[in-house]
Symmetry: C2
């Protein structure tokens, strides 16, 4: 063990992010290393939900669409998300799930590249991206091909037949991070557009969509943004595409004048044309309140702390001989640790039984999310110690740990 | 005035639905006649949201997908909605907006009628239905035509080239109700499928999708179902279509084994294949709690009371010479009263200023929703009296009532 608990206490004491932990409500007896799957509860959410339910809905009723400006909530929350991902005001809106947002972005992107037939994406990415792309290609019936290649082959697979590079910056299983700037430049060099899936990026570390000249992006509200289970996702479109942007889910709230109830669809100006139907206000208000937890936070410090947590955790379990699925180079990864074990599912269940919550990903991956706003150095150190005990004593080797839950 | 306040008190005293009013939290000083736009707050929602936020999310964290069975919530809430619309268990799921659900249902329906090119719909329906249909037709690029005809021409416009009859049972502006049984039979007689938009039906009066042999249906969670602002919508598909149902929004939660993270999309069995991405759990939990307000309620009694409220309201304003846009025949309408006035917007603002909340619809319609679970006879009688005062004194004729709000 290269570190002691005293080292951890020192690190926590001098941690510039330590003060943000009190912005979260965390259960006793749990070390939560799954904030990359469902973020912890920000304290501000409870008061907001009370107010939204009792006052805005209960008292204000329909009037709150105006008086509490529910109607602009998607774009207002979008701008707040935008500040975390380097997106200019007016380029991000929040609503629908990531999958639905991806359908919109991809539909819009393909229409901007009518002569091209290839959607290039990474083999082994979170599968909804491939499912949505394949479903859209089939629906359009124009012979679009979804081409899956390994991460390190994406750049060389870019060619003038590629309409869109659809790529997730950080792989959900391994935590490996693509070079968004280089791939964006390479895509643009052959005339292709980019759609970046930021599900494991937004709120985890600095992202600068403007600097990398991204065309479109989508992402998740309930992971590092802590918006609550099933929080709506976000979608970004660069300003240069707004005028010509036509997305295929033409619902009434994306209309230029939704309350004119005109027969013909006329898209709203700007990012608002990415809206479809009435958005889930309660879930979106929770996300808006959750974003308060990022006020004053420097995401460079978040990434730096995540990297130190990574080093401490991996050093503490190094002797176990588990294979590290996550790149050792901090520049080439997000903020998770993925370790392989042939009985990863059972080991994770044993960990959860001891109060250390991470998750399992097929076929052999234990995934630990590092969320510096509410994780202490001592937490990660303790979690590693419990993992060591479980592995060395084979405490995972019990039938109840092998029984699969519905959601794994 | 054909009625007195004493008559109203008598009616309220003997009303079998009167006891359900206490299931709702209603603001003082307001008569709420807009439950057809945003339903009032059911009391059960507050406690549920407290528990979901603090316990399920805050304490349970990611584990609640299993321990609180979030994963099956869409289909569980779907079955509860299904009981209100005559849908068999396993045929309704809840998630996404009505617009997105319509896209799925229409995409699936068109695929089931590959040789046909016409989507028949009503001119003057809520426009999102036409927008979505037009957007989908354009995306598919197979020459589908969205044919808009007047309500009374729908039956005669059915022909063997019609793939889908897409119709809203109750028109949002007028409250006129289509004959769902007759139109469904006529559609089937020419081999067309039906998609029924139940936004102004579900929870308002008895609907029996099984009896009319409906193919697909969609509807809204935040109007008569009282699920809160932007509550997720629902989608229904008849069992006979499940095996062949392919809908175009192929997201990971519609996969047969979402947690296998398989590369190829394989649709789930049954209605679960209408799922797309992670649903907004907070908003869906609110809808689930809201549905408690329907426990033990007989929707035939709800419609009967709505019809009596309709008679009282219209009789009380009859002398004003306002034109009634809603059919007088109870069988041919839903549960709203729509009245025309050349200055309908200003009149409605004046009403709202007096605590009577209805809404305005272009170009000249004042819309009053009748929601018998939380409206008393005396409320509707009082509202009519205030409308009479405003019209007879021209109290609406002031600049502040003519200034349009963002949402109207």
């Amino acid at each position: 063990m290269p570190y002691t608990i005293a080292d951890m206490h020192d690190l926590d004491r001098t941690d510039p992010l330590a003060r943000y932990r009190e912005r979260f409500s965390l259960p006793d007896g749990v070390i939560y290393l799954d904030g990359n799957s469902l973020g912890a509860l920000p304290r501000a959410v409870k008061a907001r939900m009370d107010e939204v339910v009792a006052t805005q809905w209960g008292e204000g009723l329909i009037r709150s669409w105006n008086t509490h400006d529910w109607i602009d909530l998607p774009d207002r929350v979008g701008d707040r998300v935008g500040r975390l991902i380097g997106a200019a005001p007016g380029t991000v809106t929040v609503a629908d799930s990531t999958s639905v947002n991806l359908f919109k972005a991809l539909g819009a992107a393909l229409r901007l590249r009518p002569g091209r037939r290839v959607i290039l994406t990474e083999k082994g990415d979170f599968p909804t991206d491939g499912y949505v792309a394949t479903g859209l290609a089939e629906l359009m019936g124009q012979g679009h091909e979804v081409r899956f290649v390994a991460a390190d082959e994406l750049a060389s697979a870019l060619s003038p037949e590629v309409a869109v590079l659809l790529a997730t910056e950080v792989n959900y299983r391994t935590g490996a991070r693509l070079d968004m700037a280089a791939l964006s430049a390479a895509a643009h060099a052959v005339g292709a557009l980019t759609i970046w899936d930021l599900c494991h990026s937004a709120g985890a570390f600095p992202v600068d969509l403007g600097a990398v000249d991204a065309d479109f992006a989508v992402g998740c509200g309930y992971k590092y943004l802590n918006g609550g289970p099933g929080a709506p996702g976000f979608v970004y479109a660069a300003v240069r595409h707004h005028a010509d942007l036509r997305q295929p889910l033409t619902g009434w709230l994306g209309h230029a004048a939704p309350f004119s109830f005109a027969e013909d669809y006329r898209p709203a100006e700007g990012i608002a044309r990415m809206r479809v139907g009435t958005p889930p206000i309660l879930s979106m208000q929770a996300l808006d309140a959750a974003l308060d937890a990022f006020e004053g936070v420097d995401l460079r410090e978040v990434k730096a702390k995540a990297d130190r947590l990574f080093s401490i955790f991996t050093a503490a379990v190094a002797e176990l001989g588990l294979s590290l699925a996550t790149p050792a180079d901090p520049e080439r990864r997000g903020t998770q640790v993925s370790l392989r074990h042939p009985e990863a599912y059972a080991v994770m269940q044993a960990l959860i039984g001891r109060g250390v919550i991470g998750d399992f990903r097929q076929p052999d991956i234990m995934r630990f999310g590092l969320t510096p706003l509410y994780l202490r150095y001592e937490d990660v150190w303790a979690a590693a110690g419990i993992l060591r005990e479980i592995i060395t004593s084979a405490a995972w080797d019990r039938p109840e740990f092998r029984r699969r839950a519905k959601v794994v």
